[in-house]
Symmetry: C2
Subunit: 137 residues, 2 copies
Amino acid sequence: MKISNIHHIGIAVKDIKKSVERWKKIFDLNDPCFEEISERGVSVAEFEFEEGPSLELISPLGENKSLAGFLEKKGEGIHHFCFEVDDINEVVVSLRKAGAQFVNEKPQKGAGGSLIVFIHPRTVNGVLIELKQKPKE
Amino acid sequence: MKISNIHHIGIAVKDIKKSVERWKKIFDLNDPCFEEISERGVSVAEFEFEEGPSLELISPLGENKSLAGFLEKKGEGIHHFCFEVDDINEVVVSLRKAGAQFVNEKPQKGAGGSLIVFIHPRTVNGVLIELKQKPKE
């Protein structure tokens, strides 16, 4: 098994500041980390927990047609989840051999500067899955 | 913060056996645990990882109108995620005070016999969230 753990769940929201306040109020959460990833046209607020995966609220900046399209078509909600992997390039090769299709041809820079790639939802049950390279220790 | 970790991600699928084979093939996963929860009208296949949350493929048995309706309206895909909590009744009271709405009035029996309850998607950004009572040690 090349997948060892789930890194985060991504939730598509229209108004990131308003949504952050709502999640904080309902679940009594601490402040999230905010990041704007201009290369991917996405604004991210990441809530961390005592253990395990984080929750990312994501909202499109000007250029992210895919996320804006998701919001228009399906509305706000869970958008993707992310598997963390040791060697993203190796995993992409082996998943492709097993029949996976990818949204982008090669891994690109994601939140925190790590390499990420998205598996196309047509691969397994309509689920958009991000792969994220584990930071080197 | 009353929420300490994410317990699983639930993925709605039409054909659970076929879907299990597909996830196993693509991600080189071990066999999942199967469970039929007749009270909730749902068939579950749970994939576990080395650490952190599991992935649950869920498919409606005869009676689950809500899951069948989700599949009909939105198609296969991520259906919900689950927070694990120490005392589900206490958390329900405090979330209700903070403005959360629930799908069912009181916690009921879920996978593995533990108490669960669903927060209504209108509470935060269209997201269906399950709360699950941590097993007593």
